[in-house]
């Protein structure tokens, strides 16, 4: 039920926006997103963007995977 998918914003008009993934477009609302721009990635749940996906934070997330994997490797020895 709380599924949310990352989509890319292609049009913005006030609180209405069009977001797409792989050419599939859907109408969404962006009431909960400050400063939304074309090209932004947002997580969409039940027709509403619930947050922006920040590229810098996404990279930090991948860093975290790596840190945990390295730590697990040492612990697993």
């Amino acid at each position: 039920m709380c599924l949310a998918v990352p989509l890319r914003i292609v049009e913005v008009n006030g609180n209405d926006a069009i977001a797409e993934h792989d050419g599939v477009k859907m109408k969404i609302r962006v009431d909960f997103i400050k400063d939304v721009h074309i090209g932004d990635y947002v997580y969409v749940h039940a027709g509403f963007a619930i947050n922006k996906l920040d590229e810098k934070l996404a990279k930090e997330n991948l860093e975290l995977f790596k840190e945990v994997a390295d730590a697990a490797k040492i612990q697993g020895l």
Binding site: M1, C2, L3, A4, R29, D31, F32, I33, K34, Y41, Y43, H45, A46, G47, F48, I50, N51, L53, D54, E55, L57, A58, K59, E60, N61, L62, L64, F65, K66, V68, A69, D70, A72, K73, Q75, G76
Partner: protein
Amino acid sequence: MQLKFKDYDKMSNIVNYLRNYNGPAVKIMEVCGTHTMSIARSGIRTLLSEKIKLISGPGCPVCVTAINRIDEIFELAKRHDTIIATFGDMLKVPGSKAGFNLSMLKSQGANIQIVYSAMDALNLAMNNKENEIIFLGIGFETTAPGTAVAIKEAAVKCIENFSVFSMHKYVEPALRALIESDDFDIDGFLCPGHVSTILGIRGFEFLVEEYKIPSVITGFEAEDILVAIYKILNQITGDNPSIENEYLRIVSYEGNKLAQNMLNEVFYPDDDLWRGIGVINKSGMAIRNKYSKFDAVKKFNINLDFVDKSTACKCGEIIKGKIQPDECKLFAINCTPENPIGPCMVSSEGACAAFYKYLRF
């Protein structure tokens, strides 16, 4: 943005560690139904040491909707001038009469429309002025802000044939009820990633500050879940219960203030009935008086019944983590996804449906 969240090489180290884990036996609860599905689909359970048990929690909104509410929905659906607008998850949920559901009512002529957003329900109201449109508000803090926007917009635009039957619920009171129950024996929580997107890390600090339970907010890729399990184990073995955020890319400390404000503007906490758990104080999102014109409970005088009806189905025990789906006598014999007896089998995110699909053999 090309970011690779599926990385087998990195994960194999974590999987090896979790497979060979030989510390204290632990029970970890995934609170969220979407996690239940991710865990089942990815086969994570089969990768873990026998000492690590994953238990599904009360985080499937369809599964925790009381039988009484389902019966009340059926009564609304029978009204001749009414269109019920609902997420598809609700169509096959049985009420107190076995085998009877919204889908059957639809085949008997009731006007039931599946929508993907509360805004779709509002549009239905604008385009069908001669009908009453009742939107079934199901979901936790991830879903409810959208419903709140629809209610607020209905008020602004004076769309008088639109109302919401709010069965929305807050996650925190349910977790507190679970933790404070007599036989609670969960050692760690995988906290719901998208509810946390709205509430922030703050929204789950109580798990550690008040109850000292190791907790990790996590995303929905198999990798997210593996990393989170590893972190919970480290908190347990290091005797260092904390609230950690693994879902860095979307969850912040404060959460989404705009969504929180919208929730508070339209809803207030009221006592609510949870299937299999009973009444939990201040756990339901009731619609504020300011918006009472759009509250289906008031508009149609729904007499909310607060007695938790029990059935042979053990969903209530399953969502509290007391038993696994295959310990219910009905599981896979009388109760299957094609013929579901209880909501945990109806909802694709229910523990029984996930277990049936991925773990039966």
